[in-house]
Symmetry: C2
Subunit: 233 residues, 2 copies
């Protein structure tokens, strides 16, 4: 499918590039559509493209040796994934699958690498992104070390709370929260355990479901306390 320079320009990471460069990139790029649960990027193979998400929601997932799924991170529209090979030409370490129907633009790595030679903006953007990923993984990892299960769940929930609400402690809402199952595999817990923790959080009026796709945080302060282990559940 055709890719217009304008489409590429909608991505924050590519916006700073000069128009001529975008035109050039657009010619080499392609758009692909994915159904829910479809595989966007394969693990283990050397991907030749960076995947810019236009519509929908993706998730990076890994599989343990015993076949269980482990959720790693989410990709939202405007963001991209599969950029690791840009640096070391190594294989994509994890799968990326579509959580919803999705539309993505595939830009060849070779072209990006070439362009990044001339455009330090691109390189530093990629560097920042990678750094952010390391930071995110570090946090996630320290989370997995927590001995207390409900604290783990609360911490994970806390990481999903929008930043502004984290500071102001105002009531807020998490859009498209992961399912209990998804949280469970992110934290290597059983689905039932996550369910039970949520049950307690709800009876304590700390969170509240508002249909699927919406989780109200009705006591942000309490959630923070629980996440930090200052209070036991």
């Amino acid at each position: 499918m055709q890719v217009t320079p304008e489409l590429l320009g909608t991505f924050p990471g590519l916006k700073p590039l000069p128009q001529t460069t975008l035109v050039q990139l657009a010619q080499q790029s392609s758009v692909r559509k994915f159904a829910r649960r479809a595989v966007v990027l394969n693990a283990g193979v050397r991907e030749e493209c960076v995947c810019f998400l236009f519509e929908g929601r993706l998730q990076g997932v890994d599989f343990t040796i015993d076949g269980r799924e482990v959720g790693l991170y989410f990709v939202e529209p405007g963001d991209f994934c599969g950029e690791l090979g840009m640096f070391d030409r190594g294989p994509q370490p994890e799968f990326v699958i579509a959580l919803t129907a999705a539309v993505a633009v595939f830009v060849p790595m070779d072209s990006l690498r070439e362009i990044s030679m001339q455009a330090p903006v691109l390189l530093s953007m990629l560097g920042e992104r990678l750094a952010a990923r390391v930071r995110q993984m570090t946090r996630q990892r320290s989370l997995l070390g927590l001995p207390n299960i409900s604290q783990r769940v609360c911490c994970q929930l806390w990481m999903l709370v929008p930043e502004k609400a984290q500071e102001s402690l105002q009531d807020t809402v998490i859009m498209n929260p992961p399912t209990h199952m998804e949280i469970a595999i992110m934290l290597s817990l059983s689905r039932e355990s996550v369910s039970r923790v949520f049950q307690i959080l709800q009876t304590r009026q700390i969170v509240k479901r508002d249909g699927p796709g919406m989780l109200l945080i009705t006591d942000t302060g309490a959630l923070k306390q629980l996440a930090e282990g200052a209070e036991e559940l």
Copy 2:
């Protein structure tokens, strides 16, 4: 303490730089010595230097909210750490402590950033390094998801096996293996559990202690089987 350009040149990451650049860097760098267990880099603060390890052994560690230590990675001589801020000027995410007495060269980030503008070698080296770190963290993380304890330990052990031995399945040796306690905190297990797994591995003649600082792998194939979950312990 004085830093000579020759000293800087001993680091693989800096070797490709022109002599004049090394001279310039050397003037701004400093050498520091650390006792065992000393803090080399602090978490949470914005470090202004990248730390190149000359002698000794360092470890990146994090602390869970409840104060337990979590081991993240090791730094060997010739390698460096604290480079994350190079990309996003953010704070150092984790502590780095000396596992043994150590000598390290501190090179100011500002200078490195400046130089990296002219020398793409440096930038791509840093990028590769960061990418490698992401890969390493991905592997480590998938490890933490394993439901079986002995498999976790064997996997961790497997990751410490030198690459050549991983392929050839020859008997080999792990130099300076982590203590049981260190393995335990890396895998969020109790020290006793790790001890018990090692006990079984030893009676089965799969590994063998050779004093502190040496762990012989006497049945590399079996260890691989266990790590992959093909066999139960």
